[in-house]
Structure formats: C-alpha cells, structure tokens
C-alpha cells in the first residue's frame, strides 16, 4: 500500500470554555427541552446489556484542590467480552446493547460526576497478544483545559492483572499508578477522582 502525503494539519485545540454544558449536556445548562430532553451519552446500559453493573462517582480537582464544576467527562470502553462497538472492531461481534461511550457533566453545584456502566473485559496491548488489565478510557474537557486530557481508570480488585499490565508497567514513576486506580466503595461502586495538578496529579496520556 502506498502512503498518501500528509498535507493537512489537525485543527489546533481551543478550551471548551465555561459553557461546554450548553453544547454537550444542554439540560444541565438550563436548556431542559432541547434534543428531546436528554443528552447523548447520558445512558450507557439497558436491561439487555451483558456484564457486571458498576457505577463510578468522582470529582475533578484543580491545583488548589477545588472541584471543577464546568467540565465534561467522557468514557470509552470495551464491552464485557473485551470488544468495542465500533466499525474498526474486527475481532468479533460486540454487544449491540452497549455503545461503550458515555458522557456526563461535572455537577454545576458540587462538581460530582456519575456513570452507570459495566465492567469492561480485557483487551490486547497494541498489536501483541498480551492482555491489558481491564480499564476504561476517559477524556476530560473544561474551561482552562487547553487540550482535552486522556486518562484511564483501572480496577483495584484486579491485583494480578494490574501488576502485569504493560501500560501500568511502562510508567516511569510507579508511585503514580494509584492515581489510575478507582477506590472501591461498596459492591460495584467505585470512586474515581481526577487531579489536574499538584500532589497526586493524575497520569494523563498522549495516545
């Protein structure tokens, strides 16, 4: 196959600004009635979705320890079998009752976000057959964030899989792994806080 020359440049990023909720989760900005009353990504699972139900709560903290209240957070994850509901998935038939993508605002008053989803299956690392520990890809945008931030949430109970995970093992600063581990609250409930700056700054990825 011949490579075509790269002739266009990706658009430069600009901050989502303080009003990203208008565009991405309009009901939380005060536009209750638009788009049939709910935003895309608000519901990740239905009764037929396969897999273990989990919920994730958290906040995104700035460098002063203040939760940010004007952000959005998106999840992208494999289904319970480790397959993605996407045209580029060619390893098998994904669960069509699971889109794999979710989006929520950080609450305008408290900064809290909340997702109901399922625990993802394991997927291979790059082109190898080595499996990664289960994880959820996360993307964050808000005022003051100049380029959307990618991170991952891993599961604390997956001690063995986490210890063998090729991405976690790549981290130069192994003491930062805990920033990628959710905290168990009760069965199926996790807390995952994201720290933008300072002590315990979350690991962000260039992907």
């Amino acid at each position: 196959m011949t490579l075509s020359p790269k002739i266009y440049q990706e658009l430069p990023s600009q901050t989502a600004g303080p009003y990203v909720h208008i565009g991405c989760t309009p009901q939380t900005a005060g536009l209750e009635t638009i788009y049939g009353g709910s935003h895309l990504g608000s519901k990740m699972i239905n009764e037929k979705t396969l897999g273990t139900r989990i919920s994730i709560n958290g906040k995104i903290f700035d460098g002063t320890g203040t939760p940010i209240k004007d952000g959005i957070i998106e999840l992208w994850q494999a289904d319970a079998q480790g397959l993605f509901n996407s045209p580029a998935e060619n390893r098998g038939e994904p669960d069509r009752n699971f889109q794999g993508w979710g989006r929520q605002p950080t609450d305008i008053l408290t900064g809290e976000f909340h997702f109901d989803t399922i625990k993802p299956g394991r997927i291979p690392y790059l082109s190898t057959s080595k499996l990664q520990a289960p994880f959820i890809s996360i993307w964050v945008a808000a005022r003051g964030i100049n380029l959307g931030l990618h991170t991952r949430m891993y599961f604390p109970e997956e001690v063995e899989a986490n210890s063998e995970d090729p991405v976690l093992n790549r981290l130069e600063h192994q003491n930062r792994i805990n920033t990628l581990l959710a905290k168990p609250i009760t069965d199926g409930m996790y807390q995952f806080d994201i720290v933008l700056q300072g002590e315990n700054e979350t690991v962000f990825f260039d992907i």
């Binding site: 075509s4 790269k6 002739i7 266009y8 440049q9 990706e10 658009l11 430069p12 990023s13 600009q14 901050t15 989502a16 600004g17 303080p18 009003y19 990203v20 208008i22 565009g23 991405c24 309009p26 900005a29 005060g30 536009l31 638009i34 788009y35 700035d62 460098g63 002063t64 004007d70 992208w76 993605f84 509901n85 996407s86 045209p87 580029a88 998935e89 060619n90 993508w101 997927i123 291979p124 790059l126 082109s127 990664q132 005022r143 003051g144 964030i145 100049n146 380029l147 959307g148 931030l149 990618h150 090729p166 790549r170 933008l196 700056q197 700054e201 979350t202 690991v203 990825f205 260039d206």
Partner: protein, 246 residues
C-alpha cells in the same frame, strides 16, 4: 454504521507545536488547571483507534438549525443569519463520514443561555445556542445559525472574546477527540484574544478562521461562512509496533 475508518492503522502523533500548551498564563484559567507532569505516550491500540458511532436516528430534524431549534412558532432569533458549512476530513484529506459535530455559542448580543452567564447582554427568547449534526458521505456538514456577538470575560481587566462558535468533534477513533473554536474572518478581536493566543504557532490560528463565502449565501436572506475541519489522520497499516519502555 457509517463512520468507517479510512484505514486501520494508528493515528499520526499529535503535532503539539500547533496546540496550546496546558499552561498558558495569559489565559488565567489554565494556571490551576494545567497538569505539570509530562503526558505519558502510549500509542494507539484497539481502544484508541475505535470510537463511538452515532446514527441519524439519534438526532432531530432541526438539530443543526439554531434559527429553528429553540424558537417559538413563527418567531426568529435576532441577529445576522448565517450558514456555517464545510468538510470534516483527516490529515490525509479524506472526508470523514458519519461523524458527530456539536456546536454551542452566544446569541447576537454575546450572551449565553446558561444559568451561570450573567452578562448584561440580553437573552434572546428564540435562541438556545446549541446544535449538532452528523457529517455526510464526503464529510460535509452545515449549520444555520445567528452570528454570535463578542463578549467581555473576566481574565484581564478589559478582555473580550471575538465572535466565535465552539465546536466539539468526533472522528472514528477516540484519540481524535477534539474541542476547538471557530472565528470569523476580519474580526479585529482575534489578534488580541488571550485564548486565541494560547496557540503557539500564529499561522495555525488561521485554520480556525472561517471565510465569508458569497457563492453560498442565500441572496436577501443568509450569509455563508466556510469552515473546514481537520482531525488526526491514520496510518494504513494495522497497529504500529512500539518498543517496550520509553
């Protein structure tokens, strides 16, 4: 499903020279919200080259028409009526079909319909300020809207945003995810905007400026602006092989 990937390889690495750095102190909000440590480069696997698919059934018929999607029957928002249109493509120039584009903006007085916007510019009862669409076969898209007004914002003592529309873009891969802003040709506020100037490469700013296009205006009705969108392109081979370690 329509947002077919142009090929199956990993995405070209991001050119960080054209993106604003996380810490851009003239834009004060970035100071406490910028990670200080380096991003960890992990490359593209199946979780990065895949992304969500949106169907036309997810959208309503007037979702891309901001003149109609919030207005009362037989009423119109106040302001300059414009069409914003263009093509979404990747860095290789291939149109991206089936991609979700979402926009949000202030009204013609520079006021957002948001519970937290207290600017003196009035709300327009017939203008919501958000829209969304899914790109067509060639990556084509269009919105009809009202030209947003400039507005002052708390940064320096006298900072004003140029007229702009916020754009949120999805490509077929989650690593293409991008939020940016569109500006209008000829706006004197662009040059002095601290947010525009977070972009280190001054020539790259030009990529965010829509051009007036008289050929696509509707005479006696609506002006047209062309704004082409480019997301990361990808290699044609399956996953890139990366050596372990850094």
């Amino acid at each position: 499903m329509t947002n077919k990937p142009p090929s199956s390889g990993g995405f070209f690495p991001r050119n960080f020279k054209i993106h604003p750095p996380a810490y851009a102190p003239d834009y004060k909000s970035s100071i406490a919200r910028s990670p200080k440590l380096a991003l960890v480069s992990i490359g593209n696997g199946i979780s990065e080259i895949t992304g969500p698919v949106f169907g036309h059934e997810d959208l309503g018929p007037t979702d891309n028409d901001l003149i109609l999607n919030y207005s009362a029957k037989d009423k119109s928002p106040i302001g300059e009526r414009i069409i914003v249109y263009g093509r979404l493509m990747d860095e290789r120039g291939k149109g991206i079909e089936g991609a979700l584009i979402e926009i949000w903006q202030a009204n013609s007085a520079g006021r957002y319909r948001h519970t937290k916007d207290k600017y003196i510019g009035p709300l327009d009862p017939n203008f919501g300020g958000c829209g969304r669409t899914i790109t067509g076969e060639d990556g084509n898209y269009e919105f009809r809207t009202i030209k947003p007004g400039p507005y002052p914002w708390p940064n320096g003592i006298n900072d004003w945003r140029p007229s702009h529309i916020h754009f949120s873009l999805f490509g077929p891969g989650f690593s293409q995810r991008l939020i940016t802003q569109m500006y209008f040709e000829g706006d004197p506020l662009i040059k002095i905007c601290p947010i525009v100037n977070t972009i280190p490469d001054k020539e790259a700013i030009d990529l965010l400026i829509a051009r007036l296009d008289m050929a696509n205006t509707i005479p006696m009705d609506t002006l047209a602006y062309e704004f082409n969108l480019v997301l990361r392109g990808r290699r044609s081979t399956l996953f890139e092989n990366r050596p372990e370690g850094n």
